[in-house]
Amino acid sequence: MEIRSTDREGFRLVYGKCYPVLVKICYHITYDMDVAEDLVQEAFERFYLKNMGFPSEDDAKYWLIRVAKNLALNHVRRSKREGAMVDKVKAAAVTKPSAGHDGERLLMEGETVKEVRAAIKALPENLRMVIILKEYGHLDYKAIGRVLGISEGNVKIRVHRARKKLEESLSGDEGYVY
């Protein structure tokens, strides 16, 4: 079914299908729910304003994932650049306990989540993106290949290598693996 991004029904259909995936991907690149929401909104705004036609739902989905992923990567790069400034401000402000859902969950599963994040952050970018799209976006190899512009075989290899590296860095604590 052809999708036009300015068509109300088409937009709603794509939004309903893609929103969770996009937020998950953006969240696992930025590790900030508010930022992820903003970026996904921005991606959908671009989607509408570009007024594009897509041969299928999947094509629209791949386009959106590509845009959202790039927005998130840019955000991370920018905040790294401005990181020094932000750190100063944070140091000046009174340290408050991490608020909301994120904070509570972090307290409960704190250590595991911390270790998983550290392991994922330690991956080189080409492996990290593939594993985020696979494990958190739950995309298949074909979709990952389309989003990243690489072959399915390449996706297969990268997923495998990323898992191997993650196993290595997480197996320090056997208790979590078994």
Binding site: T6, R8, F11, Y15, Y19, P20, V23, K24, Y27, H28, M33, E37, V40, Q41, E42, F44, E45, Y48, L49, R78, R81, E82, H101, R105, E109, T112, V113, V116, R117, I120, I131, K134, E135, Y136, D140, Y141, K156, I157, V159, H160, R163, K164, L166, E167, L170, Y176, V177, Y178
Partner: protein, 177 residues
């Protein structure tokens, strides 16, 4: 022979094609070591799942953003947001570059167009300054300054006007005094 790690990872993702898929299953049915490796891979996936977004949180975000987008694009009789109302994100670097660019354009505009009457009137027809190189004159010219006269000429002029000027070099005394 046991199954390759990469093959196992592909099998776990359900992306292994026939006949490899049934061969792998057949092997797994009698090889405990490979089953253990598969379980380990599955455990890794579950471990990664520990860091996932709460579903309630996700649907709240979905509703919220849907509301914003519907309001922006699909409200009855609503218009597309104008260029000015769109959020423009800019880093510090690009902001500095843009500012510098504006300054260059501003000054460059004056350099290129500001001095020529013809072009100024072309750009702003109602407002033309009568200030091109044809009718602008230097107020002071080098011919009228003191530099144009020698020291003797200045002295004799002052002498003729009745001034008694004594000129000496600082720190140098005439001989015999």
């Amino acid at each position: 022979m046991c199954i390759d790690e990469a093959l196992l990872s592909t099998y776990l993702d359900g992306e292994l094609k026939e006949p490899y898929k049934s061969q792998t299953e057949e092997h797994l049915s009698h090889c405990a070591a490979c089953r253990a490796r598969l379980e380990k891979l599955k455990a890794l996936g579950q471990l990664l799942e520990a860091d996932s977004i709460d579903e309630v949180e996700l649907s709240r975000a979905k509703e919220k953003t849907a509301g914003i987008l519907e309001g922006k694009f699909f409200v009855e009789g609503g218009k597309k947001p104008s260029f000015l109302r769109r959020r423009i994100e800019m880093g510090l670097g690009s902001m500095v570059t843009a500012a510098a660019g504006l300054v260059v354009v501003f000054i460059g505009g004056f350099v290129l167009f500001g001095s020529s009457r013809a072009q100024t009137s072309e750009i702003i027809p109602s407002y033309t300054v009568n200030a091109d190189s044809a009718n602008v004159h230097f107020v002071s010219s080098p011919q009228q300054g003191l530099d144009a006269y020698s020291l003797e000429e200045i002295l004799s002029y002052l002498d003729s006007r009745g001034y008694n000027v004594d000129i000496s070099l600082k720190g140098v005394q005439p001989i015999g005094q």
